[in-house]
Amino acid sequence: MLFLLAFGLLITAATLAAVHLSRRVNMLEETKSLKDDLRAIAEDISRELDTGEEDPYDFLEAVSLIQKQDENFSYVLRDTSGVVISPSFVAGKTLKMKDVHPYKGYDSVYSANVWSHKCLVIIHTFPDRPLELVGIYSDRYIFDDIQYTVHLFFFLVALVLVVLLAVAWLWVIPALERMYARRDRAEGELRIAHDLQHKAVTRSFPKDPRCEVHAMLKAMKDVGGDYYTCVQSGDKLFFALGDVSDKGTPAAFVMFLLCGVINSLFKHDAPLLEVMDSVNKMICDNPDYDMFTTLFVGDIDLSTSEMTYCNAGHTKTLLDGRFLDQDPQMIAGINPDYEYHTQAFRLHRGSRLLLYTDGVTEARNENREFFGESRLVEWMQGRSDGESCEETCKALFEEISAFRGEAGQNDDIAIMCIKIC
């Protein structure tokens, strides 16, 4: 951005310099002959004024005489204190005597810089009156050789700059822009994927005195794919937690879609098998997805504490510090004809379920050891009964982070904890 701004400024400066200079170069020929003319005019004026009438008030005549000779001549009247009396001076500027210099030995002819234009100034002081007639030959530049050389130098510098900038404009900038665009797009996509993942998962959990639910997701910026949802419909608490086996934007979009589909089926009291089949077929029917998902879905009838569940290739759900009995079933999205089945288990008051993704068991420490199932089971057995689900989730995140030590997070981590009250 800064680069583009600087580039724009340079282009503007170079263009202005070029325009300004071309104007000056055009004037060069004109001013060369002007110099000679001017010298002659100055001589005439000087002679006229010196040998003029005795009447000191007849200065207007002198002025008209000058103006007749050259229309570019203008004048200003002022008293010796420097107050302007008739401000018809073309450049609108009053000169002080100290700013003018005698011009090549001519009487009454001085050179001066008026707004950085070199001008010839004709000054005549009437002997008995405190008035001066100041004439300035202006509107044209007196362009001397030094100025010309300086301007030529700047013109060449500007020319080189313009050539360099043209090269930059045509080749360097497009290449940089392409590079930045690629990088921005990639980053933007990952950010969208990351946002999608966090927005798709449930953030407000059912508030029923008979149960307590909490879930947390810690997604990797460039992996993505873990998801969960939890919906209460009447007496039934539906929950799902899964992991899409791809990364980045594609995984995020599919998990977003899955969350929507699962949520909507849950809200309509759909049987778990219908949920599993829908997810399985949805991914199988779109071979372009080139991905699959592991998924644990379950529902709990809060009036009877009867739980039904189905585990499609997902990590084994824990119940009170031991693994729930789960038949291995195929991950969803591979075989559209696979027939899933559900299992059932009656929970009791105080039962605590822990669902998680493989980011938990496969977290690694500096020695490349896995956190593993046995460590997780042991940790879960050490939880106190009074701990809330939110506390459990947070504690597990802290436990994994402590186990990992200096080693960074290597996969998404999603955790859901459900407690029967």
Binding site: S245, M291, T294, G313, T315, K316, Q329, I334, N410
Partner: protein, 101 residues
């Protein structure tokens, strides 16, 4: 870390990944395999007897490989598996779909 040995004999290609097929190496492994899976009628034997670990992203690579090979009229058979990989296959219901001999 993953090292992949590729050996061609009697019209079959034997691929032996040695080490761990974890998320970070999946992309490079898949790229390497893409050279093979493009071939028409490829007969691949995948020896997972030296694979200590496979992540869920690694599973995806195997499934994509199998799909690509069968799309090109070939066949992929898994010959050996370690206990760790067998567990993952069992848990994900993929044991039968990979035809573990």
């Amino acid at each position: 870390m993953l090292k992949t040995n590729i050996e061609e004999k009697d019209g079959r290609v034997v691929v032996t990944p040695v080490g761990e097929l974890e998320t970070s190496v999946c992309d490079s492994f898949q790229e390497e395999m893409a050279q093979l899976t493009r071939r028409e009628g490829l007969n691949m034997e995948l020896d997972l007897g030296s694979l200590e670990y496979i992540s869920s992203k690694g599973l995806r690579v195997l499934i994509s490989m199998q799909k690509a090979i069968s799309d090109n009229g070939g066949r992929m058979v898994v010959t050996e598996v370690t206990e760790a990989v067998r567990e993952v296959f069992d848990m994900t219901g993929l044991t039968r779909s990979f035809l573990v001999e």
